[in-house]
Amino acid sequence: MSGFSMNRRGVLKSGAVLGAGLAMPTIFTSAARAYTNEPTGANVTLGFNVPQSGAYADEGADELRAYELAVEHLNGEGDGGMLNTFSSKELGGNGVNGKKVAFVTGDTQTKSDAARASAQSMIQKDGAVMITGGSSSGVAIAVQGLCQEAGVIFMAGLTHSNDTTGKDKKANGFRHFFNTEMSGAALGPILESNYGKERTAYHLTADYTWGWSQEGSMKTYTESIGWNTAAAVRTPLGAGDFSQYLTPVLNSGADTLILNHYGRDMVNSLTQAVQFGMRDKVVNGNDFVVVVPLYSRLMAQGAGDNVKGIFGSTNWHWSLQDEGSKAFVKSFGTKYGFPPSQAAHTCYCQTLLYADAAQRAGTFNPCGIVEALEGFEFDGLGNGPTLYRAEDHQCFKPVLVVKGKDNPTSQYDLLEVVDVTPTEQVMYAPDHPDFAGGDLGECNPGA
């Protein structure tokens, strides 16, 4: 270090000269942009931020497949999927607003911090105009907050907590997926007609925003049909082993176990509950039953035979026979060799809805998109007629009540649709107490 002489003044001088030199040929671009990451080239970049590790990694992988498929369809590759059945015909398979759709991916790790870092890098480094994804409501809410600050659109993927479009709603965030309130409203009558009014429920709940929300909604609706709640126990997200939480269930006098778990948590807790022989027990003269309020085909696959006869609700199922669902299942199946999950479906829809809104608005400006999506009514995306409500940016559509199939014909044919609960039955007022306390604010175009 002593070979060359260097004094403070010299370093300061050379630093100043270097700085001035670099600043000379500057083209100031920040002022030229009307909104964050306005695409100036031939491409528009979308950011797909999904869990690739953690308890929801399976859902994340399927979401990513759906996003890639959606991008193909938007760019006119493949068979077009649900673009052909979508009620809005603005998109022609030649990109969006004349620009080819490109994408970047990131790993949320099912952690809010990591998800935000990943989304930040998509916005700041890759120039994404829209971030979508998230399994886990905690992550979705965190990223939604970031997108609001940064001035990009957030199209929520698989997030089921009331809070996403309730107390944590944001003007730049939109959710196609249903929520726990809708699950409760759809499941209540089915549970009543199948299991009667005299039951005692024991909740095991994933300890974060979605779990709390799900537990609250299930309590509301089961108690309204006369059920008692024995206890509600919170379990850490990604616990792996649930035996310590399951042991007290049988001694509590409860005859119904409600598993407010999702992803691998649900696979593990349900499998262990079945291994404990719970479903063979008779308590209070009732057969012991298990209810899984939020179901997915991926989870059913993970839990195998254990799901037979178990009720739950789902946003979408691949066995639906409307034109949109058939088209989607066909193009997804052709590309990947198996049917899509509900996570894949909602992510695919969100991408299409965003692209369509941008096309209709003629811009990628978040405020234009917000305007185009608020109060938007559409059909042909597999759920029947759907409304994007302006007050809270939540989609309203029928909810499926499903049951684990007793005699599955294939490894994917695990759930049967018991009931399609019409939209009116799951509709709630924007100022419903479970959704109160939030404020959309105004759209933020950033820059």
Partner: protein, 399 residues
């Protein structure tokens, strides 16, 4: 000027140069070129480099000087973040009160935890700090949810009181330093196909890093620092000579906790969200890795280690199969597939594997961390190596 003093000034200037010009230095590749993937010069990542650098500098004051290995430093990081976000919610979006409260509260926290944990040394101390940190994590995750908002993380809402600020109406409030918004880009330009972005947030962090680095340097050179080194070298001998080491170690622990709190508060200032996972043991382990990777007990090492790990976390983890296919597209079909399969486990979600291998390589071949490597290169270039090979090699820390 003595030799050490002169070297310190040079070191500080070098750090200042890299910190101030990082937005340019870290963007060596054209933004639409094939290597743009490896650019790290965007504000969020640079802020992380700097903030985790501060975190590691603070950790090094404890671990590098006294040898006490704390496995629970993330607790202070989390406490700093929560305090800062509460300041944003209650008082003002100005970052000054948030940083001050973050540092103070984590200092208090460190005082309590340090007072108890420092009754033991060695592995028992590590386990105690780990236990406290895990306890804090679990409390933040599920018990104190009204304060911490659990897994979702504490966020800023429109409805927060913020008694010093004028209401923003329906626009989301943003963190600022007397009107300079942290996420605001004050200069952005394109030069030779490279996109350069300069944000206020990064420069606030960079200046705080320089101050922190300077303070740490003064501590290293002070009699207090010498005392801490004595604790590391032989605590028993100190006790036998009648020195009570506890006040020294406790002070080091609290200073180090305050550094962590400062880093946590800065994280919240740059991105106003505090999540419980910031306190998890993996986060505590990360700062240990950073310090050891860079070189424990050296001034610059921890900062390098922090940058190294954050770079891998954010750059390597975002290389997916599509990117790999594009890289190997020039090869014949079968061969490119083969290479994609070979490289796949090491990038994307497998970045931990690469980091692990690197860490092993560093620990085995460069026991003194990256600084050791740098020193060996400098010695080799200047020819010192050949001379010192004959004689006993002085175990001087590489600085």
């Amino acid at each position: 000027m003595t030799d050490t003093k002169r070297n310190d000034v040079i070191l500080l200037l070098v750090v200042a140069f890299f910190a101030l010009f990082a937005p340019i230095i870290l963007n060596p590749f054209p933004s639409d070129g094939p290597l743009a993937q490896f650019n790290a010069g965007y504000p969020d990542l640079m802020q992380r480099f700097v903030i985790y650098g501060i975190f590691a500098i603070g950790f090094n004051i404890l671990f590098g000087l006294t040898g006490y290995l704390s496995f629970g430093h993330a607790a202070f990081l989390g406490v700093g973040s929560y305090s800062a976000v509460w300041m944003f919610k209650l008082l003002s979006m100005n970052i000054i009160p948030a940083i001050v409260l973050g540092v103070l509260i984590s200092g208090l926290f460190a005082l309590v935890i340090g007072f108890i944990s420092l009754r033991r040394s060695g592995i028992y101390f590590s386990i105690l700090t780990l236990a406290f940190a895990q306890m804090s994590y679990n409390l933040a995750y599920s018990v104190f949810t009204p304060i911490t908002n659990g897994e979702t993380g504490l966020q800023i809402l429109l409805s927060d009181p913020r008694i010093l600020d004028a209401p923003t109406g329906t626009a989301q409030p943003v963190t600022s330093l007397f009107g300079l918004e942290m996420r605001d880009t004050f200069l952005a330009f394109e030069y030779l196909g490279r996109d350069f972005q300069f944000t206020y947030g990064y420069y606030v962090c960079a200046i705080i890093l320089l101050i922190s680095f300077y303070i740490s340097m003064r501590i290293f050179r002070s009699p207090f620092g010498t005392m801490l080194r004595a604790v590391k070298t032989n605590q028993n001998r100190l006790s036998y000579t009648g020195v009570n080491t506890r006040p020294y170690t406790l002070t080091a622990f609290v200073i180090s906790g305050m550094y962590a709190g400062l880093a946590g508060a800065l994280l919240a200032c740059m991105d106003p969200l505090a999540g419980a996972e910031r306190m998890q043991w993996t986060a505590s382990g990360e700062v240990v890795l950073m310090t050891i990777l860079g070189g424990a007990g050296t001034l610059l090492g921890p900062v390098l280690g922090a940058g190294f790990i954050k770079y891998f976390e954010n750059i390597l983890s975002r290389i997916n199969d599509n990117v790999l296919e594009a890289w190997f597209a020039f090869m014949p079909d079968g061969m490119s597939d083969f290479f994609v399969v070979i490289v796949h486990p090491f990038v994307g979600k497998g970045w931990h594997l690469t980091l692990g291998l690197m860490f092993m390589a560093v620990v085995i071949f460069l026991p003194g961390g990256l600084m050791d490597g740098a020193k060996r290169i400098i010695d080799w270039v200047s020819g010192k190596n050949r001379a010192s090979k004959r004689g006993a090699k002085a175990p001087a820390p590489a600085e």
